[in-house]
Amino acid sequence: MSGDDPRGPAIEIEGLEKSFGGEPVLRGVDLVVRRGEILVILGASGSGKSTLLRCLVGLEQPDAGRICLSGIDLFGDDPDRVAALRERMGVAFQGGALFGSLTVAENVDLPLTEFTRLPESTRRIVVDIKLALVGLSEARDLLPSELSGGMVKRAALARAMALDPELLFCDEPSAGLDPITSAGIDQLLLRLREVFGVTLVVVTHELESAFSIADRIALLHRGRVRATGTPEALRASDDPVVRHFLDRRPEGEAMEGHLLDGLRERRNHA
């Protein structure tokens, strides 16, 4: 065990396997996330990226393999160390997962109340800073139901950043948003890394977003990491699976592709 080495990788994943009801979803994922980088896990629906994220944040116990966050084995280490680790990571869920009965400010305040002994006045300042950071100062006393889709994502990021984590996980940060709002969230993620030096793991299927924020991209395909590399390296890849995904074409063996080709040929002949 490498312990809590500040220069070691932020996340190490080795041979991660997980199946549901006999159906393998992750078939041996190996991945390293470096400190301070933005790693985008890219994949189509069903590629296992959501399951991978749920394992990474400890919501799902893998069947085999190992996950080390800052050198601490998420499923093998002393429970107290793992619990302490939770205060050093933040998660922004796809739908925000804000607590519906609490205002935006109270949502951001919750981790502070639970895990710090800060007096209320200090907590209030911290909450205001986080809300200003994500551009939600005006919305501090609104309920989650009164927020737009983009504001929900911003509030979720503010809550995830409440305890100044070293690791920030984002599940589909731009899903369900219009292109402009989505670009705004991308800018925000870049700024969070710039200001806090946080290591970011972003799971998405949106190519545009992935290429605009990623230092490195890991393409997940059928439960394995098919390719890892910088956006440029991935663009230059000649792996057919990578090409299919980046060119937004259905997979080669997918029926629609053949059918469409067939139809086109017949039309051209006619």
Binding site: V57, G58, A83, R86, F93, A97, G100, L110
Partner: protein, 278 residues
Amino acid sequence: MPGTANPPSSRFGAGFAARIGRGTLVLLGDAGRMAILSARVLRQVLIAPLRRRPIRWRATLAQVARAGTESLPLVALIMLLVGMILGLQSANQLDRFGVVDLVAGLVSVSVARELAPLLTAIIVAGRVGSSIAAELGTMQVDQEIDALTVMGIDPVHFLVAPRIVGLVIALPCLTVFGDAVGILGGFLVGIGVLQLGATSYLMNSLTALHLDDVWGGIAKAVAFAAIIGVVGCERGLATRGGAEQVGRSTTAAVVRSIVLVIAADLFVTGLLYAGGGA
């Protein structure tokens, strides 16, 4: 179905048996989860405070207030009506033996021992148990429960224990209130319809009703509250999928808690009153 070798009856039989088998397995699984959840709640309530993790009293009191305000008017209405009905029905029978004045004792003892605890529990299952299941189910579907877990906040400590403890405090109080209103219903029929004297009715009630009867009802209410709380929370947390599943969980929570409350009522009644002793 035509063209199949099996006669319809045996195919129906096999399918029926398979359905019973599958249903039983599902119920056993749910019972197991309820047992685990109960154990976790007990740990939060009994052991965690010793490790300087006291239960959340503010959240718990909010739940007590919610259970009270949601159910109090309905408990008042239904217990008043039931007290009156019981007065009228028993007067009808007791009149044949010329002992109409026994109505007072009959109403107060039946209300305190049986009707107030049972009916109040059923009302609370319908109003509070269902809203607990709906609330936790929505939180599960919206990943709010996941968000708590990821933050390192135990959902049992944060959400489940306050709800169950809140019910265990609120339901006995509602039951005692139901006792009073039910006895009042009988009293109104007694002096209004049966022409019994107000003072003698009250005296008869007090002579017949022992404090043990009220305590027995309270003991039942505690057990019923635990059942309603555990079932509501378990169904809520077991919600998977989308918003439409929340409705199913809510219905299942009400049906299950009512069945279990009535079964527990027989059990507790057997423990408390079997052998004809009083």
